[in-house]
Subunit: 327 residues, 2 copies
């Protein structure tokens, strides 16, 4: 099991700061969460039903022909490697580490490569896993590149897996609309953009045969009833989605500027986080934590990821802390 960010309780104990007193910027989860309605108790009490309308609403939101609701992208990350014989797998790095981990754990031959090398050496792989936009490195890929990569992989029964967990604020970059192509697998998460990371929900967009195999591997009732209820509303809430996109972009710009002002010009970022490569990353992470600000530290390469502060007070708190800790 890999270690992950978002371990607020552990940081709280370590630094002797109560959980409620932290500014938690350790995740890429939107601080502007979709406002939850009351959840009917029946959603808790009854087994979830596949034909409750969620799949259709998700198809419309993602622009996909068919989707499979899953209990978070994580469920697909762990299940996909079981659906192929031993393959040569190229995974974007640095990136969300669970991808390479899951393929390795299932006996595949995995290499992790930076974007340029991965694309240049694509012919060496049966499966290529991209995170788009990349987390934490923010890489973006143009659609023509992705589609020609997918075509080449499909010709040898290969897969292009694209983890679009952070794409909702820039949906024009998504491949969901063509995800029924052979060997293309697009993973979407509702945790980040909708700010519902606790709900454990995501969707896989792919050809029907692959979705069927994945569903068989995961078993029935993968997504909780309360989550299905909430998502039927959230994915259909176009007005909220439009406002959230604007707000995220503005906040991410503001965060980039604040970091730059304090000598931490971000190396990359997207609408949901900014990422700073910096030799001092570990020391900065610790100094910020001592002030009750939790960031995500990456050892290789030495870097910090900052999630979005939620408003003026949180931006001011981060600014004050940066003034103190950046020498």
């Amino acid at each position: 099991m890999l270690e992950h960010g978002g371990r607020l309780l552990r940081a709280a104990r370590r630094h002797g700061i109560a959980p409620a007193d932290w500014l938690d910027l350790s995740t890429g989860i939107s601080p502007f969460a979709w406002p939850l309605p009351a959840i009917p108790t029946a959603a808790w009490q009854r087994l979830p039903e596949d034909d409750d309308g969620l799949a259709g609403i998700a198809c419309s939101y993602y622009g996909a022909r068919q989707v499979l609701p899953i209990a978070g992208t994580q469920a697909a990350i762990h299940a996909l490697p079981r659906l192929r014989p031993r393959s040569r797998v190229g995974v974007l790095a640095p990136g969300y580490a669970e991808h390479a981990h899951a393929w390795r754990a299932n006996g595949h031959a995995v290499e992790t490569l930076p974007a340029a090398e991965l694309l240049a050496q694509a012919h060496r792989f049966d499966v290529i896993v991209l995170i788009h936009p990349n987390n934490p490195a923010g890489d973006l890929f143009d659609r023509a590149t992705l589609l020609s990569l997918q075509t080449a992989l499909a010709a040898r029964n290969g897969w292009l897996v694209v983890d679009e967990a952070f794409i909702d604020a820039t949906p024009e970059h998504s491949l969901c609309d063509v995800a029924d192509r052979d060997g293309l697998v697009v993973l979407r998460s509702v945790g980040k953009f909708f700010g519902l990371a606790g709900a454990r929900a995501g969707f896989v967009c792919a050809a029907q045969a692959l979705l069927d195999a994945l569903r068989e591997s995961l078993g029935p009732w993968a997504v909780a009833g309360p989550t299905r209820y909430a998502l039927r509303l959230a994915l259909a809430d176009r007005d909220w989605q439009a406002r959230a996109r604007e707000r995220l972009r503005a906040s991410s710009d503001r965060l980039r500027t604040l970091l730059a002002v304090h000598g931490l010009s971000p190396t990359a970022g997207c609408a949901l986080f900014q990422w700073c490569r910096d030799e001092r990353a570990n020391a900065l992470h610790e100094a910020l934590a001592a002030r009750g600000i939790l960031t995500r530290y990456f050892e290789t390469p030495a870097s910090l990821r900052f999630g979005l502060p939620a408003g003026d007070a949180e931006f001011a708190r981060l600014g004050s802390a940066l003034r103190e800790v950046v020498a």
Copy 2:
């Protein structure tokens, strides 16, 4: 993917009866659900944290040394077969069909046998899967038998898997207290007894090494945040649990009597359902459905399972319908 009971929406469409007008007795889920409190929005918005106290509360409720929270028994049923090399697997039948299905789907040599034969031929298997009490057949096993079976299996690196999804009303029959023995795997569900089937939650009790392997296979954040919050309270609510046990036993007795009065003496049952083998099962299922009462029909052997009506009005409705449909 197997078909399951609880497909109320499909029955509603087929019979032209609105979902709200049904008496749904198709599941073994308690009609006396644990009363949900308000769920804090943070539970929806933040990634669940493993060290939120849930595991300790569950250990106390189950009397186990360690537990792994999972997204419903189903998650373990699908994951366990992946943790063993090809094995000879004996599964109790008739019983919850997902067990045999999952072991077969992972390439194991599976046989399904009635309880007496399965125990008599235990030496032929590396893995034995029991449902205890059995669903739908209600079989009960005595503790000494189970422990000697487990000892014999463990001696050849085998497993005894005991699905205790329906045991909460009779916890004295549970093996959770000895589940850290080598090769013993006990599956618990919160869906039935707590009436929270939509929450998708369960627990595995076993030796730590097996729990670690299972956790690795399922990935992080398997259980939704709102579910973890609710369970921390529900599993600690001893007063409610005691009252629920009494109420379930009384309702199950009343159901057995009602069925017997109408010529459908149950073949077996437990605190959460009654099960009737009857050649007319399919016709009875259809006739009850035409009256808006959904039961669970099993083809082999021809039988019906009745979940518990919730109170006087529902018992009266079932009684009237039985009077009409049982010739």
